[in-house]
Symmetry: C2
Subunit: 237 residues, 2 copies
């Protein structure tokens, strides 16, 4: 089902399409920022880490530009119903994307630290969780592009698995610190990284909720698992 209709005003359509394209470009940029950030950590690639840090400015500027375009289109076109919802959802989504970019930057800080060889094994553990969340971001952007409810529901449910990864990772890091107290400063950075990845997962989940809102015209934040389960059941994912 195609939730993105057409307008009598071709110009309005063109403006909306342009904004949506910009969101996709921004999303693509943040996705590669995040994928690079994750790979810098396990590969200890300081050059790539610096590249990620440098690209943040571009993401920030895109957020401001898209935000301005959204406010301008509301003032000029006075959209209602699903058009207005789409613009509100874009404003909220780009804020999440910008902060995912910030988290990618935080993750890179770990790559820029000097880890003694014997502590590096612990970094590998971040890889699984990190790649999972890269995939999650990729899929939610895909769901957003197509405004695909089923895909958004599928991504939404991934957050639970990331949460389980997180718990396992924290237990592992605690044990490592208790056995190697001198590793504590290093492991604290890894711990911060793990939390950043968890937070990115919940930001992806937020974007899923925006997609639900756009399609269903109803706010699905804070609704409780039963309402989400009903949404899932209705859509037989």
């Amino acid at each position: 089902m195609n939730y993105l209709g057409k307008h009598i005003s071709g110009q309005f359509d063109a403006e909306l399409a342009h904004i949506r394209t910009q969101v996709m470009v921004m999303g693509g940029l943040v996705e590669s920022q995040l994928a690079n950030a994750i790979s810098t950590v396990s590969n200890h690639d300081q050059e790539l880490a610096n590249k990620v840090l440098a690209s943040d400015q571009e993401v920030n500027q895109m957020e401001v530009k898209i935000d301005e375009a959204c406010v301008r289109i509301i003032a000029k076109r006075q959209p209602t119903a699903s058009d207005l919802r789409l613009i509100i959802v874009i404003i909220k989504t780009i804020a999440e994307l910008e902060r995912i970019g910030d988290s990618a930057k935080d993750i890179c800080q770990v790559a820029l630290q000097n880890f003694p060889e014997e502590h590096k094994s612990i970094l590998a553990g971040l890889d699984t969780m990190g790649n999972h969340v890269v995939q999650m971001l990729h899929d939610v952007l895909d769901a957003f592009t197509r405004m695909d409810l089923n895909e958004a529901i599928r991504v939404y449910k991934e957050d639970k698995r990331i949460g389980q990864n997180y718990e396992a990772m924290i237990r592992q890091l605690m044990t490592f610190m208790m056995e190697n107290p001198r590793s504590i400063p290093n492991i604290i950075s890894v711990l911060n990284c793990t939390r950043s990845i968890l937070r990115i997962s919940s930001r992806c989940q937020n974007i899923c909720e925006f997609i639900f809102y756009f399609i269903k015209g109803q706010d699905f934040r804070h609704v409780g698992d039963d309402v989400i389960e009903a949404l899932i059941a209705d859509n037989k994912v």
Copy 2:
């Protein structure tokens, strides 16, 4: 200087005023949630902690209600210029407030843990930083109510001091863990708490930026310290 003008439509004025009042109520609720959360940690008050956890639902519902009212007023009144900016700023501000509420909840989780007597001293250290951020939230809500640029600039600058508190706190926690490896699981919670407080500070700073945007009609996010310094110099704070 009063940045909040009057409209020809008295009804529109009344609707906007009603939304702003609701934001203040929500802000007040989050402020007391946060103040309670901070006090539960040092006083180890589990009853109060449970009360904070329970009040989160109310904050969430307020966010959804205000959000709906904002979208409705855009669709119905088709605001432009500063009216539109105000509504956009409200949508973004309540999202920050809701997440400050979430952080308050996270902070309470520490109060619900069993800390051995000899580790409790470390909790007191959270107090200074915590109360600082409670004050920051109080002041930014005050600046928001009056759309007071000078006050918003003053609060904006507080984030730097919170950052310094954070660094000092982390160093202290690391030393404590290295000296008492068995304390690690407890201290990790305190560490998470400290990060939550830091994040609340940057959310308060975000709200300051929204106030700048409303008043100046220009986006002050990601602009660099020089532009903020110029804003400060212009306003002689």
